[in-house]
C-alpha cells in the first residue's frame, strides 16, 4: 500500500428523510434498507477508497436531519474538508433546506471545504413520481456556489460512489496547497502510526487488558 493515506473528514447535511444515511450505507457497505430508522445525533462510519495510487480514507459523520439535532451540525462541519448537502428531488422543501446548509457552510465552515450538492431518490422518478426540483435549478445553484453536483439513488446505487470519488479527487489538490496548516485530514505520518514494537503506545495500552 502506498504510504500516503489521506483522511478526509466528511459530513452529511440535509433535511430529515432525504436519504443521507442511505447514501452512506450504500457507499460503505453497498447495501440498502427500506424505511430506515431516523438517525439519532450523528453516526460515524469510515471507508477507504483508492484513487490512482492514493488511498483516501473517508471519516463520515452522518448527521441527523431532524431539527432538534440541528445544534450538533456545527460541531461536525466545523473542521470537515468535505460536505455532502443532500436533498430529495421530489421534495422542494428539502432543496430550500439544502440552500440554507450551503449558505451556512460557506459562512461557518473552514474556507476550503468541498461541498457536493446531491439530489437523491432519482429512482422514484422512474416509477412515475413527479420531479419537483428541476435539474437546472440545482445546477445553477451548484455553479453559483462552486459546488459539485450529482443526482443519485441510494436505492439503486446510481452515482453514489461517483460522488465520493469526485470529492476524493478534489482533496489531494487542496492537500498539496495547505497541508501544513490543516489540523485534520493529515497524512498519517510514520510517528503517528501505531508501532507494535514500541511499548509506549497510547491507544494500544488504553484498549488492552490489564495483564
Amino acid at each position: 500500500m502506498n504510504s500516503s493515506i489521506t483522511s478526509v473528514k466528511l459530513v452529511l447535511l440535509g433535511e430529515a428523510a432525504v436519504g443521507k444515511s442511505s447514501i452512506v450505507l450504500r457507499f460503505v457497505s453497498n447495501d440498502f434498507t427500506e424505511n430506515k430508522e431516523p438517525t439519532i445525533g450523528a453516526a460515524f462510519l469510515t471507508q477507504r477508497v483508492n484513487i490512482g495510487d492514493e488511498t483516501v480514507k473517508f471519516e463520515i459523520w452522518d448527521t441527523a436531519g431532524q431539527e432538534r439535532f440541528a445544534s450538533l451540525a456545527p460541531m461536525y462541519y466545523r473542521n470537515a474538508q468535505a460536505a455532502l448537502v443532500v436533498y430529495d428531488v421530489t421534495k422542494p422543501q428539502s432543496f430550500i433546506k439544502a440552500r440554507h446548509w450551503v449558505k451556512e457552510l460557506h459562512e461557518q465552515a473552514s474556507k476550503g471545504i468541498i461541498i457536493a450538492l446531491v439530489g437523491n431518490k432519482i429512482d422514484v422518478l422512474e416509477s412515475g413520481e413527479e420531479r419537483k426540483v428541476a435539474r437546472e435549478e440545482a445546477e445553477k445553484l451548484a455553479e453559483e456556489e462552486n459546488l459539485l453536483y450529482f443526482e443519485t439513488s441510494a436505492k439503486t446505487g446510481e452515482n453514489v460512489n461517483e460522488v465520493f470519488l469526485a470529492i476524493g479527487e478534489k482533496i489531494p489538490l487542496k492537500k498539496a496547497e495547505d497541508q501544513a496548516n490543516q489540523q485534520h485530514g493529515l497524512r498519517i505520518t510514520d510517528d503517528q502510526r501505531i508501532d507494535l514494537a514500541s511499548s509506549t503506545n497510547g491507544p494500544v495500552k488504553a484498549s488492552g487488558c490489564n495483564c
Binding site: S7, I40, F44, T46, L72, M75, P203, S207
Partner: protein, 514 residues
Amino acid sequence: MVATGEQASEDFHDSENGELSIFNCPVCSKELSDLRRLNYHLDNDHSFGEPQELATHPVNKQVKGRHKRDGFVAGHLKAFEPGISCCHECGRLLRKGTGIVNCHKCGELFCGAHCRNTIKLDSHGRYDPQKGRWYVCCYKCFGARPGYNDYGSSRELTETLKSLRTMKNEDKQLRIIQLENRLVRLLDGIIAIIRQYKGSLLEGFRVQKDISKLERTVTSWRDDNEATHCNICNQVFDITLRRHHCRLCGNIVCDSRSTNCSNQVPIYNLMNAANDLPFTEATQELVSDNVSIRLCSECIHNLFFQRKFKKEVRQPLSPLLSQCESISNTSRVIIQLTASLGDIERIKSISQAPEQFDVNESNKLRAKLLRAVASYHQSTKQISMIKPKNNAEKKIQQSVRMASSIFIDEKVLQLKSLPCINPPQIYHAPESQEVVKLSNFLADNLSIKEIKEIKQFREELMVLKEQAFLVETMIENAKKQRNFEEINILNGNLQELESRMQTIQEYLGDQSFA
C-alpha cells in the same frame, strides 16, 4: 297510486273462476261479493290493517313492474318521477343510468349505488327478522334496525354489579360489626373477671375457669365431632394437630405454625389495635396480665385488615414525596388561575371600556397567581435541598426539578404575554408590586429572552449528552474491533462534545440540571 300488487289481482281472478259465493262482513254483516272486497271493506271501514287505496279496476290495470313482489304492500314506496326524483342520499338526479331503487323500508328513492343493503321485512315494510323476506333497503334503514350497531351489542350490567357489590359489602360489614361486638363483650368480660379476682389467692385458678365459661357465652362453639379437617387450611386433625375454637366465630381450626390458622393473641394487643371500639374497661391495668385468647386468621383479617390499612395510609409520606405533592397541588392552582386570568383579560381586550369589576377581578387573580408561583418556586427550592435517601429518590428529585423549571418558564411566559390594558394610573401600585414579585421569584432577574435562551441551551445540552453517549458506545465497539484509528477520531469528537457541554453548563450555571 297503484296500491295492491299482483297477488290481489290473482285473488280476484281466483274468486271469479271459482265458485261464486257471498261473504258477509263479520262486523256489520254487509254482503260482499268476494274475499278481496271483504278484506278491503274490513281494512277501510273497520280500520283493520293499514288503510290503503283500492285500485279501481285491478283486473284491467297491469301493475307496474318495479315493486311487485309476492304480497309486498308497496304503498309507502315513493313513485319515480322522471326529471324530478333525486337520490335521497347523494342528491343525484335519477336516470336509468344511475339505477332507480326504492328502499323498501323507508320508501325513499335512491340511485343504485346508495341502496345496496338487504333487510328482512314483512309485507308491510316493517322490520321482521324472523318471518320477513329479504328486500332491498338503504344503509340508513339497515343501520337503524333494532339490535344493530357497528360495534357489536353491549349490555348494561353496571347496576347489577353495583347491587351485588353493595350486597356483598353490606354482608361483610355486618359480619365485621358482629365480630367487633363479640370482641368488646369478651374483652370487657375478661377484664372484669381479672379485676374481680385481683389479689385473691385463687386468682390463677378462678380466672381461668371464669374466662373459659365466659368464652362459651360469647359465641356458640362448633361441635368437635363436626370437624375432621381444619376449616381454613383443610389439614386433617390428628394427635399432633389438635382442634381449636376461635373465640369470636366459634369455628374449629388448627394451630399449625406453618399455616397460621389460629393464634393466641394477648388481649392487651387486641385492645390497642382496635382502640376505636367502645371498650368500657380501661386497658392500662392489663399491661402486666398476660391473658391471651385464641383467634382464627379469618377473624383477625376481618377485624384488623382495614384498621391496619388505614393506619398505614395515615402515616406521613417521606419529605420528598410530601413536597412533590404540594408542588403538584400548587401547579394545579397555577394552571387554573392562568386560565381564568386569560379569560378575563381577553374579555377586557374585546370590550373597549373594561368594567371596574373585571379590572378588580383580574388584579386579584394576578396577585393570587403570583403568590402561587412564588410558593411553587419555594417548594422546588426545598426539593432540591432535600438529601435523597436512595437512587430512586435522587431520580425523582432531578425529574421534579426539570419538570418544575420547564413548567414555571412556560407559565411566566404565558403570564407576560397576557394582554394587559389596565390604565396605569389606577393600577400603578399593584403592578409595580407585581414586577418586583416576578423578578423576586425568578431570583436571577431573567428576561423572557434569557429564559428562551436558557431553554434552547438546555435542549442543546440534552442533545449533546445523547450524542456523547452514542459516541461512547461507538468507541466501545471500535475497541472491540481493535479499530484504533476510529477510536482516535471518536475520542477527539468526544472531547469536543464534552468541552461544548462544559461551556454550556458554565453558561447556564444554576439553571442547568446536571
